[in-house]
Symmetry: C2
Subunit: 395 residues, 2 copies
């Protein structure tokens, strides 16, 4: 049986070059970058090289990069840290309703600290409207956070326009680029953005490490208090092996961005084109124009059945996919992203997310096209909803 892993948005292996870069920092060059001796010097230099590489991926200055424990910490630090540092200016925050929970739930925590939060919606293609963001900004708004692209539905957001509006209004703009960095060009030197989150895992770097870029001059309260690491903006001994691995992964991602995007987009576009022809009553979620989607992403909703059933049957055939964000898969709730895109709950429950990676091959698409339709048929035969639909004359 083939093993077809199509859940890279949930987790990816590290690249062999990345694994090689990590090893020496576990066993030999194990020093603490803060230490004032040779072991410390070696670790510190390795961290600074990694910082340059991560900065280069997004056109940032190295000293503006704060290493974190991942995308979730980066998003929490950005949202809470910028809001809390600006409390004297105001206590209103604007986020989109399709943000990852690490942004949305961070905003809900701010509500417990007397902040007001406005959520702007998205259209059926998953696009946030910059003019809606403009309308949501108030005199007391201290932060706007809209993601660069949504990982669940692939839609690339007009963040350049949103950033320009925020800048016009004098409000800091954070963008969660966890799903996007390494796949679409992002250059903070060319956008009016104040902060950007990225994660290592999405770049084929190790888990447990990420980065928050914060433009020089932007005030931010640390989320992790402690020592003076990361310029006093994030306490805790640096995860040197993790940081080194992320640095290597960022370097490779920057070098190969175009070829990776082309390779991945060929597979995702093929699936986006072929699957609707192979399964009736299946709709593409997110943007219908492949060029407006993340190259690794192909997302669908299959009517009349539940995503989870499909996952289990696909797993038995060696195919790993998800029905949305892995962070929410065990919460057993419908996707807030699909709901924000006005997709009815009974359709959203049949959502399927295929996230392609560098280890995939074009024939993986064929295997999905061949494997999924009989599974859908079988599940629909057990579905009272489908039965009702057929009796009403559908099919």
């Amino acid at each position: 049986m083939p093993e077809v892993y199509l859940d890279h948005y949930a987790a990816s292996p590290v690249l062999p070059e990345v694994a090689d870069s990590i090893k020496p920092y576990l066993l030999q060059d194990f020093g603490n970058p803060s230490s004032l001796h040779s072991w410390g010097d070696s670790a510190r230099q390795a961290v600074e090289v990694a910082r340059e590489r991560v900065a280069a991926l997004i056109g940032a200055k190295p000293e503006e990069i704060i290493f974190t424990s991942g995308g979730t910490e980066a998003n929490n630090t950005a949202v809470k840290g910028i809001a809390w540092a600006s409390r004297k200016k105001g206590s209103h925050v604007v986020v989109s309703a399709i943000e990852h929970f690490s942004v949305l739930h961070a905003a809900r925590t701010l509500e417990k600290f007397e902040f007001d939060v406005t959520e702007v919606g998205a259209d059926r293609q998953g696009l946030v409207d910059p003019e809606e963001v403009r309308g949501a900004i108030r005199d007391d708004t201290v932060l706007v956070s809209v993601m660069a692209a949504n990982g669940e539905i692939g839609t690339i957001q007009p963040i350049r326009k949103i950033a320009a509006i925020a800048a016009e209004k004098g409000v800091p703009f954070h963008t969660d680029a966890v799903a996007a960095a390494g796949y679409i060009p992002l250059d903070v030197s060319e956008m009016s953005v104040s902060a950007m989150s990225i994660s290592s895992d999405m770049l084929y770097g190790p888990k447990g490490v990420g980065a928050l870029w914060v433009r020089k001059g932007q005030r931010i309260m640390p989320l992790l208090d402690g020592g003076v690491q990361e310029g006093g903006r994030r306490g805790g001994t640096e995860n040197v092996p993790g940081v080194v691995g992320m640095g290597k992964a960022a370097e490779l991602a920057a070098r190969d961005l175009e070829s990776r995007a082309a390779y991945l987009r060929a597979m995702s576009s093929s699936l986006l084109e072929k699957l609707p022809a192979a399964i009736s009553r299946l709709r593409i979620t997110g943007h219908t124009d492949p060029e407006m989607r993340l190259p690794w992403n192909a997302s669908f909703a299959v009517e009349f059945i539940e995503g989870e059933g499909m996952l289990l049957f696909l797993d038995q055939k060696g195919i790993a996919v998800s029905s949305g964000s892995a962070c929410t898969s065990r919460a057993l709730k419908g996707s807030h992203v699909l709901s924000a895109c006005d997709i009815p709950a009974e359709i959203a429950q049949g959502s399927l997310l295929f996230s392609f990676g560098l280890g995939n091959k074009p024939e993986d698409v064929d295997y999905v096209i061949e494997t999924l339709p009989p599974i859908v048929d079988r599940l629909r035969q057990m579905s009272p909803l489908y039965d009702k639909f057929l009796k009403a004359g559908g099919g």
Copy 2:
């Protein structure tokens, strides 16, 4: 030239068994524990095995362990998370003045959120007085945090007594056991403690991972909002390789606790005994009874000179030590711990911390005894303070 690394409190290598345990989770078993397929199952099982191992080290239940990005995140989560979850009950927190900055600075952040913080001091041996803690507890106190042992000066704290007092007063008690876990027995099932922080690096596990134990029923607000990982108490995709490595390290630390402690204590006690005989005007910092100190720790203050100078000269001789916590070494401030123990700043500036590890050998002590005195002599010859002391008839 020998290479003698005596800075294990700043950073330690991972054990070979730990490195071996990590590798498969980087390259093959790279799944996300939240994913509903075989790759996810494998990662989830690995994380749960690690959770059991970490829990076993401190006598806890596995489901009470929250994996974090390290000791700093564990301490921040405990201090802020318990305080914020208890705001309706009160807004007063008691910490000791010798806590690590990840506790002390977290408490200072609470002050920005309208909390009152009382710092209890320590005596010249570095001991916190349980009765002083009792006196500091008020009706509106929602948290007491006192470390299990201080890493800079080695003093083991009477946390069992402090925990009992906090329990008597109905106040949650958190203890930072980063420096202590794996070196002295800690059993949360036998103490009235509510939360305990531990780090992986101090157990010869990988950097970038730690754990916070929170007793069932103790309310805590997450520091990292996001998905429902870690029982909804800490968002973010689990750092599977890191967690697995920490689990392995905790298993070995529990198995070898007594033999490690005896091996390390023999070396540290030897240095604590011999160095004062080899260098005039040198004092032991922390407890003078080796049994009341962490087994890996030997700390001193050398009068009339600065610790940093000694570090640089020792580094040239292949010896790596620190002058205190690595987290503060680049802050270029005197140690708040020595200051709290009433050691005058001009003496505290000459502080030296030797932190022994499993890679050290008894002859490393001899090399230090042979190498340090001429360095001290040389630095004193350049010291105006020492000159003044000699002219006043000292020596």
